[in-house]
């Protein structure tokens, strides 16, 4: 193995959950795009806090509290380093990516958007990057414009300048959680900047799988979740340019986000405190910090390379084994996509496919994947989505193909 390849067998040993069998079958976990599994190192880091150093953060002078606070703040630094943030203070911990996007849509939006303004979204957004804007549009009365999606699952940028004309916000996903499409982030942020719009990048599907540098991305805000990148549930991240964060009003009010409170009002603390009201997800942040270190040890270039190879293998194998019976949405070039495969049979519903796959201990997800406008665009109401990560290998893909064949045959007329 060379330095830039990854040792899947060694990695799998770090993930206790993957060692289990289901009805004597090896568990084949292909649902990391929904939520990934956890290496022992992440669980150990969290248990260590609970067993040795737990206390509320930022408020005590005793040693447990000092240790908990520095563990929490070190996690912020690890995340900042992982995404190339100029300052750790630009990293705001939220409960998930959804809260992060709502924070921008609501706090920045209420302060900066008015009736007659326009927000540009793409038709391949996750509901997390649609509904918050629709809620604000209903409240404020601005227009939502849509970047369309082509038949092969790419953004249709032919009328981008026109869509951005007069827009205040461009919010888009770095990678589609349905199609696997990797979007041209830098091109989009540059176009938005030229048009005077701020950019919000939903990086839920990219940060776990690609080397990330928020400065190079050129975005104003970047949101992602810990639970899709080996971290625990209950933690997400909003990164924002300090200038933007500084100028924005807070989102949630409470303890830890103030400098002073009187009967007459409050003054908000400096960033990031301003956006972290209440007791934060302390141990979850520490877990995410450990996840980031685990990924850094593997190397994100190597992660990406592994996934491109596995994507190519998956596409080849599914075509060989199922041919025209199976539809695969999204770009046909493996290097242009992430390891997310939305599959559909003409005559078997995704829900039924998943059920048969479960009998083969193959875990995939049926449904609209929280992207109903995109599903409608492709005239579908559900796909069966398989997705890969660092612990998946070609054996998993072979098992997927076997199970898909079985599903087709089970429902054959």
């Amino acid at each position: 193995m060379s330095n830039d390849t990854i040792d899947v067998a060694a990695i799998r040993r770090d993930f206790p959950i993957l060692a289990q069998t289901q009805d004597d079958k090896r568990l084949v976990f292909l649902d990391s795009a929904a939520s990934s599994q956890h290496p022992q190192q992440v669980l150990d880091a969290m248990n260590d806090v609970y067993l040795n150093s737990y206390a509320n953060v930022h408020r005590g002078v005793y040693q447990l509290a000092e240790r908990a606070t520095s563990a929490y703040e070190n996690a912020r630094k690890s995340v900042a380093r992982f995404i190339g943030a100029p300052s750790a203070n630009e990293v705001i911990f939220t409960k998930n990516a959804t809260e992060a996007i709502n924070l921008v849509a609501q706090a920045w939006g209420r302060a900066n958007l008015g009736p007659g303004d326009a927000v540009v979204l793409t038709l391949m957004e996750h509901h997390a990057n649609i509904v918050p804007w629709q809620m604000m549009a209903a409240e404020i009365g601005f227009e939502i414009r849509w970047i369309e999606v082509t038949d092969d699952g790419q953004l249709d940028l032919s009328n981008l300048d026109q869509l951005l004309d007069g827009a205040k916000v461009l919010a888009f996903t770095a990678m589609s959680n349905v199609l696997g499409t990797v979007n041209p982030v830098e091109r989009l942020t540059a176009a938005a900047k030229a048009a005077g719009a701020i950019t919000v990048v939903d990086a839920c599907q990219s940060v776990p799988h690609f080397p990330t540098n928020v400065v190079e991305m050129g975005a104003d805000f970047v949101a992602f979740s810990g639970h899709k990148m080996l971290g625990p549930s209950g933690i997400g991240v909003l990164w924002g340019r300090m200038e933007m964060l500084d100028a924005m009003p807070p989102f949630l009010g409470g303890g830890g986000m103030i400098v002073n409170v009187t009967r007459d009002g409050f003054s908000a603390d400096a960033v990031p405190g301003k956006f972290e009201a209440g007791t934060p997800p302390i141990v979850e942040a520490v877990g995410l910090g450990a996840a980031v270190e685990y990924l850094e040890n593997i190397g994100m270039e190597a992660v990406r390379k592994h996934e491109v190879e596995l994507t190519a293998y998956t596409m080849r194998t599914l075509t060989e084994r199922l041919g025209d019976d199976l539809i695969l949405l999204g770009p046909s070039e493996p290097a242009a996509r992430g390891g997310v495969f939305s599959l559909a049979f003409a005559d078997v519903h995704a829900h039924d496919v998943s059920q048969v796959l479960d009998e083969h201990a193959v875990c995939i997800r049926p449904g609209h994947h929280c992207a109903k406008p995109l599903m409608k665009r492709f005239d579908m109401n559900a796909t069966a989505r398989a997705s890969v990560y660092i612990y998946n290998d070609t054996d998993d893909i072979d098992a997927l193909a076997d199970a898909l064949v079985a599903a087709r045959d089970f429902f054959a007329l």
Partner: protein
């Protein structure tokens, strides 16, 4: 695949492949109600035509969904067509009881747990619908099986309110 045969009984696959009462009715006089399974995206459209005496004169089903939701809708349409609204509601309650609603948990969705507490007429026979009993062993699929029924109930409520 022992478990699967429990779920996918032949009669279910038959209703899935050859759905009864598929189509649309003109509105008005018929009433149209949409139902969604928010988890998986299944959509059901129920067209129901009731007369002044409170009878289900006609019913048609549209939408897309998995074998369980589609076959359940198909069987439902056959079971309630020509019955009184009152009987149809009774059948719905009996079917939900078959799905163990009230006893087992379904998770996350308020509506299921709030299933009505109608006294169910012991004479109600579910017939073919009993084939769906296997669904109970697959908790997430219960929502598929009940989607059409919840939508029908909603349609009746809307008609009552109008």
């Amino acid at each position: 695949m022992a478990g699967l045969e429990d779920l996918y009984r032949e009669i279910i696959l038959d209703h899935y492949r050859s759905p009864r009462n598929k189509g649309e009715l003109e509105t008005p006089p018929a009433h149209r109600t949409e139902g969604f399974n928010p988890l998986c995206g299944d959509e059901i459209v129920v067209y129901v035509d009731t007369d002044d005496d409170g009878n289900v004169n006609d019913i048609k089903i549209g939408g897309q969904g998995c074998s369980i939701s589609q076959s359940s809708a198909s069987m439902m349409s056959a079971a309630v067509k020509g019955k009184s609204v009152e009987e149809a509601r009774q059948i719905t309650s009996a079917f939900k009881r078959l799905m163990s609603i009230h006893e087992t948990s379904v998770g996350g969705d308020g509506s299921e747990a709030e299933a009505d507490d109608l006294e169910i007429d012991p004479d109600i026979k579910l017939g073919d619908l009993e084939a769906l009993q296997g669904v109970v062993k697959f908790p997430t699929r219960i929502k598929c099986a009940t989607l059409a029924w919840n939508t029908l109930n909603q349609a009746f409520d809307e008609i009552d309110e109008a």
